[in-house]
Symmetry: D2
Subunit: 333 residues, 4 copies
């Protein structure tokens, strides 16, 4: 870490600051320039509060030379992490297709959907039981019953399941769930992350709507530093000024995250775009960019087509997409 | 609520949709135009999932005529809510100044700060005990001990206290706390909001970094619809492309929120700007815009000035600011 | 266009408004609901100023049913536009690779680069002669000389050339240029667009850093409505809060623009990401998303490697990327 | 300027880079740390292309110690610039109120408006003659005739006038105009800025929708470095994710710009918020934040109230606002 001191800083102030830094077991290398003085902080700087340091009156700016994340950092763990869930592998060359309806509604619906996505080539079944909703008056999911129905669909099809947990209090309901999803709104619910870090379940961590990639990695660090190494990162669109798509899918996240971390990266084009007709091209693009998996919404068209969202694919569209993805993956070998 | 149907929608599809809407006890008024058919939804449309409706294949777009929030809505509650906490009132003409250090550090520090801000005109003492931090390795606050020290400062000065709660599990520690703060990262932690709605404590709800004002109001609705009417809204900067300030203070939030809701609105210029020299002008601007209070960081300069952030005012600067605010408030009478 | 009137609008106000609309030759269909009155505007509403209409005191909101753009609109021109420039076609199944250095520097450099990108499979040579720079003190390009050198490179290699025009005054210098580029900062320089609409040159129009896709289409409409049908749209990243990449590449622009317009869509991953190692994955993703071309920076490594930006590929990296793109295009057939 | 080199940079690469920097007459001070090597660039670094430097393969990052702007920089010109236009002064303690209709429509209208705003306390008359419009089909202003009518209003009332210039070709029409406005979309039309820098007219430069404050200052530097010292900066809202207001007024711009530059800063709350009822509180806030002036839209209510936008104040509302502003200014003395 490098701290650039302001012009005019007194020697007493500098010594004061250096003493403070050394108390945190950081070694300080001083370089006096003509216009500025630069402090090089050497050693374990993870305890130095960068924001606090840079806000000091005498500090012009602070620059990290090494990243603030460690366990998620590819520099320290060069090999790709392969997350295994119910017999399916993600990362390190293993590509996984996660598919299913937005919400679990009925036993008939979820079993129908599970079978349909399995037949069309999905590896893992998704379905919401606990639903974070902007309005307290909107449908909040079937909760416990939703989990129960997902487990029936798992039993019926053999597909591993992923579903979102919103409250650590509900953890025991997730005993048979294969991957626990942390939603975008909870990406910085640090207590939740720490508790999930104490479990042995794979965690799919969604990027928050307005969070940087570094913040996503810091949140993954919360899980890993608590003991759980099975983390999957998921980009699902960020909030920008563009309103034609629900969010803006930041696909550069794939190569950037692959560079910075060894964790697998999955793309969710359904939530990012909010429009089913944009899902196949963006899923194909995700594969070409090097994603380790995609997560798409597929609905149970025949049952009650009317009420299914335009962001969901039909099973037929999903099967076509899978073929397309297979071809792109072959081309990229 | 108005739903505009796409050109080419069949009559069967329309009837299907109308039947579905009527099952939710919504009356539907149909208007056939030349190019489009418009459905007017009449009655209690709060159960209609607007996002789902607008994503249907046959729906061009959906437009709310009435807001999705009720209890926070000024239309239904025209009189300003006055929140009372430890003898201090906020809203409805009552202006409150909340001040104190970023974090509680030691007994000496927090009592010194409390006395200093009281002498300089503060009405309420702030101080962080549980600190949400991007990095798992950063200081996370004194937690229980921090609350204990805040209560000592309250006892010593008589100032009511406000501090952040991150996990509902810690609620009982807040029994003597006067106002519970929900931080920006937890604005859409819906389970937390609902639980706080069951308490009788005033809640200060901070706007999330990338949340719209409508989403802020929907989160307040979660608290109010669970039974707690004592909600204070707080704007503390949103995330934009501008990097000179830490965030961009959206001061228009003051008149907009006053128009839409009866709840008091407080501005936090310290976190919004991240620079102490910008705090006085933005605090003055907040008052001129009609805010019901401000929340500013004031540090204990004499004790260890070096380590206090540049976003904090000294007690002297804070006292000057309070005088300035008093003059502006008089001028606006 | 649909205008929703506010509750409580008087009949006189409504008549006043309707009369005003009819004076613009728009027919108005009125629908009185219980809570709102809706006006359906029928006929050519392109002259109705939507922003003005929606800002009227009695108007709750306005909703376009049809898009405000006409000549660029795929609804009115369903067939893909194929732009031809110097023997190269773009759009309608024709894929073009545009490559070259950021700036033209010397004759030796641009001819070396032109030959290198041609050998590696480029269809069109890019190179900046007039450079828009944030600072008045930064290098602004070789200007006239730059164009002259580009023409020498064109002569030497046979590659058509594209370069940016910043001022209509310089138009005659572009007589032999094959495609004129309008930079992101000039996307809403409406006078410039109109003047370029009077030429017979293909125009590559870059999306502004903070412009919506609809605004991009409206700017293309300026060119087309002035008489020039040869427009290529280019997405080159938008400004968001994420700072790891220079901008955020909005790749959803490809399928969205293909849906809304018949014009070809080209992606510039070099400027979007600002980092050469992110260019190949994002170029591959652009192809998979269905782009009609890519525009990438390739530098003249052997000559003065030091000063070439990290956003540029070497000729070798560019050749590899071209092979990869070829395979993806085959897979998508 | 400080350049941090990557770990593993060879000595040959360093020497290559240093030689390149010295060729630009920059002195280089080298500091070898344990993990990184830091180059301190000393002397006139304005010719060093920071973006290019930071994109070099061996450079980790570059940090400016001094700002890239000079003539606009308060460090080099500590005294406030006072811009004088038609007898009215702006800046250095002189506060100016600019008011008038969005567009000039008829002689009757503009003279009525001019008289009304003068009576209500305006110092300068605004009115659009050349109107930048997103759509080529929307009203583009009365152009030459608009300027002519503005001059009649100036003659009738004695108020100096400000109006927007979009194309340098039209400059001679502006001979009697007192202040030339550069609109947000032209903030980085560098050729236009340079040409205006050669005139002796005061220029009001609006911040672009997605431009940082530093970019605004660099654009002002274009004007000043071409010889024109009479520049007024104007914040008019930036583009964010919030949709309730048209744009988000970034009021922190006032104290930030006052810190960085000696140029006067004016706030336009009408365009920023897009809603007349938000204009008075935000104008008051601008004054409290220390702005040197405000620019507000006031319409000619009696003539054709219907068609005036809700972002405009009536003359009565404007008069009240002026009284309020006067009181706040007194309070802040």
């Amino acid at each position: 870490m490098i701290a650039i001191l302001k012009h005019g800083t007194t020697e007493a102030q500098q010594e004061h600051l250096i003493a403070w830094l050394r108390r945190m077991n950081v070694d300080v290398h001083i370089s006096h320039g003509q216009e500025v003085t630069i402090l090089g902080l050497i050693g374990d700087t993870s305890k130095v509060d960068m924001e606090l340091l840079s806000s000091l009156e005498i500090v012009e700016s602070v620059k990290r030379v090494s990243e603030p994340f460690k366990q998620v950092n590819r520099k320290f763990n060069p090999d790709d992490t392969v997350v295994a869930a119910g017999g399916v592998k993600i990362g390190g060359g293993h590509f996984a297709v996660i598919a299913g309806p937005c919400s679990v509604e009925t036993e008939e619906q979820i079993i129908f959907c599970a079978q349909a996505v399995k037949d069309a080539g999905a590896d893992i079944l998704r379905g919401g039981a606990f639903k974070p909703r902007t309005s307290p008056y909107a449908f909040q999911g079937l909760k416990e019953d939703g989990i129960r129905l997902l487990l029936k669909a798992k039993e019926a099809t053999g597909l591993p399941i992923i579903t979102e947990l919103m409250n650590i209090r509900d953890l025991e309901l997730f005993a048979e769930v294969d991957i626990i999803q942390v939603g975008a709104r909870n990406m910085q619910n640090f207590d939740l992350l720490r508790e999930l870090g104490k479990t042995d379940k794979p965690i799919l961590l969604k990027r928050g709507l307005a969070n940087t990639l570094q913040e996503l990695l810091m949140s993954a660090e919360y899980i890993m530093s608590s003991g759980n190494q099975q983390v999957i990162l998921c980009e699902r669109g960020i909030r920008t000024f563009e309103t034609y798509t629900r969010n803006t899918l930041d696909l550069s996240a794939v190569p950037v995250l692959h560079e910075l971390t060894h964790l697998p990266v999955v793309i969710d084009p359904s939530h990012a775009t909010g429009k089913s007709r944009l899902v196949p091209p963006m899923a194909a693009a995700a594969v070409a960019a090097g994603a380790d998996g995609i997560m798409v919404e597929v609905h149970n068209d025949p049952v009650h087509a009317l009420c299914d969202g335009a962001q969901s694919l039909t099973p037929e569209q999903f099967a076509q997409l899978n073929q397309r993805i297979g071809k792109i993956r072959e081309a990229l070998q």
